[in-house]
């Protein structure tokens, strides 16, 4: 993915030369991986002569943002619940009426403290 984002549309051999050979990954492995990414909808391809030329379907930024949101959704969905404590449980809604009442209570307490300070002077 990184290579395609950096260099634009490439064939399997070009990706293998740039990435696979350095990591001692065979051409077949690079080809299967790109085929899998295509089937997952992350790559597009076009047949040029006898070989496919692959390109990334979305930009690095939008892909990164999507991955982040998917992970965060899984966190909010409770998969990390066994080892997570949140400042406010954002999925268990407090309810607008409760929050309005709490804000009124806080405002009253602030007003009491302020008048105590004025009375103390």
């Amino acid at each position: 993915m990184e290579h395609l984002w950096s260099h634009g549309p490439c064939g399997v051999k070009a990706v293998h030369r740039a990435v696979g050979a350095r990591r001692r990954i065979t051409l077949n492995t690079v080809q299967s991986t790109m085929e899998r990414l295509y089937r997952k909808g992350l790559l597009e391809r076009e047949k040029v002569s006898h070989a496919y030329v692959y390109s990334a379907k979305e930009s690095r930024e939008s892909f990164g943002a999507r991955v982040v949101e998917e992970i965060v959704s899984r966190v909010l969905g409770g998969e990390t619940e066994p080892m997570l404590v949140a400042f406010v449980n954002v999925t268990a809604r407090a309810g607008k009426e409760h929050l309005d009442r709490l804000e009124r209570m806080i405002a009253e307490r602030r007003a009491e403290k302020s008048s105590e300070r004025k009375g103390g002077r």
């Binding site: 080892m83 949140a86 400042f87 268990a92 809604r93 209570m105």
Partner: protein
Amino acid sequence: MSGAVGTVQLAGLAVLSFALFTAIACALSYPLVQRRLGDVKPSIRARIVFVLTTAPVVLGIALTAICFLPSLLGALEVASDHCLSHDDHHTHFCFVHHPASAGSALGWILLTGTAAWATSAALRQLHGLLVARRLLKSVSSISHPTAGDVRIVNSRRPLSFTAGVLRSEVYVSSGLLHALPNDVLAIVFEHEWAHVRRRDGLRKTIARLFAIAHFPGMRARLLGDLELASEQACDEEAAGRTGDRVRVAEAIVAVARMAEDAPSEIRGVSSAFGASHVVERVQALLDAPRAAAAGRWSQWALAGAAIAAFALAEPLHHATETLLGIVAR
């Protein structure tokens, strides 16, 4: 050999019986205990609820070990061999004088069934932990650290949480960072660092595992109360460090309001995290702080328990042998 196996069965049945009695005692007494705990400082309340949550497993094993004490003292020749006072028909719960048989069929069925259920429950917990750990690794990889021991996740959602069991880390979303003023952010961070200092991730993990020995309704109640007490304890620490209880209450309401007002696709699906504790937390902060319990009560309680264990070992041992004699036959 068969006698030793019989002793293993008796030990297993003893653990099971003590755990069950403790779970029943907790279920019957907790409504009264819960009312009294309302007047206790949150950090102490969290400790008490944690002890109650782990009580059936801990007491099941501890009381069984205490039952073996007369046998151990007899073997070490510190006390007389208590088994000489038994007749031939009395069940021996002793690792020196084993019972005549390898135990009853009913006893093995009971133990095997319990072991299977406990193992299955423990494996489910472990699986949940492994999934959580893998996902947290992903969260860590998509976040970036700051100088202030906080990791930032690029997300619009209003998130702030502490995650991890042995080594906890604090995470906050960029959405929350941009939305809240600096003094409120300081309160949020103080609250999360309090969770790290208190090792609440580890405590929660142990509590969830040991709580399987409670009845289901009791389990949910204890874990919910533990969560609330832990959150309130961290609110108190944040209030102590920032000097303004009302501002901490405002911070909680501000973040809850952000979550309430967010579109549903940003807020996320409802989960099994537990009920929102926003109302209880804010009301506790607006009330006067609870006074701490006088003196080192926990050390005194432990010392008292140790003395009671030695004093009650002999009668507990005899009572257990009598009960096991009925069950094992």
